[in-house]
């Protein structure tokens, strides 16, 4: 097995530029989460976003990359029926012995460091207005130090999911070009766990379970966040395609085209559906559709034709729109940012779409250490990845956060939620010159 191959020095430099764009996706998500939350919690949510990105990068540096690794690196492998099951990397902690010189491994480490922060931002949307800052940081540390690296190794580090093609003849193994599973679905399932553990906001549901509308406080932030997110996703998808799927630098044009087509059609679909149902297009659901299209594009961006990206985007937009309502009305899950629907549902659909629409070149599997194979059985490999996310990652992330909740309560005190997270946790509001809620200014 050889490490993921970057064709040339120029492609390596281009890949570095792509990676440097990724934090813009984080900035976009932070703005979206903040805009969809209440004004009285806006500063705390932005502060949480910054802290979460910082904690994630530090913990990933300490131990995250050591367990994620990269294709061809040191790893723990056990054997079943003569087949090797590569389950976790065995790299040294603190990025020791890692020459940070533009080698594929060093680029993978840098991409991992920014990707884990992006994934950790997603649960902030579902826990908005009630998730304590300290609890969010500790939860992020566990996510970046254990949950994320373990699954990312299986997909991007040459682990057993990536090897399904070589070991069991399932197409090219589980394929995910830009992190639909490792970033989007993992973040979305963690968001679901957090929403369950902290419970709904006060006043969100009546005693008979009917939800009340708590609209976001700033649609401008939400829409601007969507535009920033597109830039970040371009970087993410292009970097992932080049680093982990053997993409050539020139293929980035296809990747970027598919990314914007998927996001655009998903957003327009969401706008059409909400206009048809409610008489006017809904801004927050359209934004969620946009993000859902981006999340889906991460899986297939390098492997489908643009027409297929349009078709996949249409389904993603409809799926996310109905899913937001389903979670809120049927499941009583209070997710102010729509994170679960946009990232988890959008990402799962994207993963599935790879099995249905993709024509994967053999170099994609070779770059993750697997032997070249045909597309036969690819759909089964994608289903296996989805089964692993739902059957293993969800219980793991829920269990980790449930145990954490016993030691560090994740939900703010009742009084804190009434005052607003800004005053209760930070001592100052995001918009001090605008008094919009008279009860915000009672003494702590």
């Amino acid at each position: 097995m050889t490490p993921a191959s970057v064709p040339s020095e120029a492609a390596g430099a281009l890949c570095l530029v792509f990676i440097l764009l990724v934090p813009l996706a984080g900035a976009g998500l932070a703005l979206i989460n903040t805009g969809l939350g209440r004004s009285r919690s806006a500063a705390q949510l932005m502060m949480s976003s910054l802290c979460v990105i910082g904690v994630a990068a530090l913990v990933y540096f300490f131990c995250g990359f050591a367990w994620q690794g990269f294709p061809g690196g040191a790893a723990h492998v056990f054997t079943i029926g003569g087949k090797g099951w590569n389950w976790i990397a065995a790299e040294p902690f603190f990025l020791r012995h890692m020459p940070l010189d533009g080698s594929p491994a060093s680029l993978a480490a840098l991409l991992g460091m920014v990707s884990v922060g992006l994934a950790a931002l997603i649960p902030l949307g579902s826990g908005a207005d009630r998730w304590r800052l300290s609890a969010a940081c500790v939860s992020t540390a566990l996510f970046a130090g254990w949950t994320y690296p373990l699954f990312a190794h299986w997909v991007w580090g040459g682990g057993w999911l990536a090897q399904l093609g070589a070991n069991y003849g399932l197409g090219h193994g589980f394929v995910d070009a830009g992190g639909a599973s490792t970033i989007q679905v993992m973040g979305g399932l963690t968001a679901l766990s957090i929403a369950w553990i902290v419970g709904p906001r006060q006043g969100k549901y009546t005693s008979d379970g009917m939800p009340s509308a708590i609209p976001g406080h700033n649609s401008v932030l939400v829409m601007f966040g969507c535009m920033l997110a597109l830039l970040g996703w371009w970087g993410l998808n292009c970097a992932g395609a080049v680093l982990f799927n053997g993409g050539q630098a020139g293929q980035s044009v296809l990747v970027a085209t598919n990314t914007i087509l998927s996001a655009a059609t998903a957003a327009i679909m969401a706008a059409i559906i909400t206009h048809t149902r409610f008489g006017k297009p809904d801004a927050s659901l359209t934004a969620n559709g946009w993000i859902g299209g981006l999340a889906a594009s991460s899986a297939f961006c390098a492997f489908v034709k643009p027409a297929a990206a349009v078709a996949i985007g249409i389904v993603a937009g409809a799926l996310v729109t109905f899913s937001v309502e389903w979670f809120e009305l049927r499941l009583s899950v209070d997710d102010p940012g729509g994170s679960i629907s946009a990232h988890a549902m959008g990402g799962i659909w994207g993963i599935l779409a790879v099995g249905l629409f993709a024509d994967i070149p053999s170099r994609a599997s070779e770059s993750t250490g697997a032997a070249a194979g045909g597309n036969s059985g690819q759909w089964l490999a994608q289903f296996l990845g989805i089964a692993t996310l739902i059957g293993f990652v969800l219980p793991l992330t829920y269990g980790v956060n449930w145990v954490l909740n016993r030691f560090v309560p994740q939900r703010v005190a009742r009084d804190g939620e009434r005052q607003g997270m800004d005053l209760y946790e930070l001592g100052a509001g995001a918009y001090p010159e605008f008094v919009t809620h008279s009860d915000e200014f009672s003494q702590r």
């Binding site: 379970g209 059985g377 089964l380 059957g391």
Partner: protein, 57 residues
């Protein structure tokens, strides 16, 4: 109930892994993978129903 739901999620994943490891023909392998996914869906439904709704919390 919540614990049972999470147990079913893990059990479903176990069925999927076992199917891939032990079976070679595509048909039976796919059937068992879908059976495992079905068990996971059952687990997910139980986990969802085990969480209190609305202000019941």
């Amino acid at each position: 109930m919540k614990l049972l739901g999470f147990f079913l999620l893990l059990a479903g994943w176990g069925i999927v892994l076992t199917a891939v490891t032990l079976l070679t023909a595509m048909g039976p392998r796919a059937a068992f993978v879908f059976a495992g996914l079905g068990v996971e869906v059952m687990g997910l439904v139980i986990v969802i129903r085990a969480h209190p709704r609305g202000e019941q919390r």
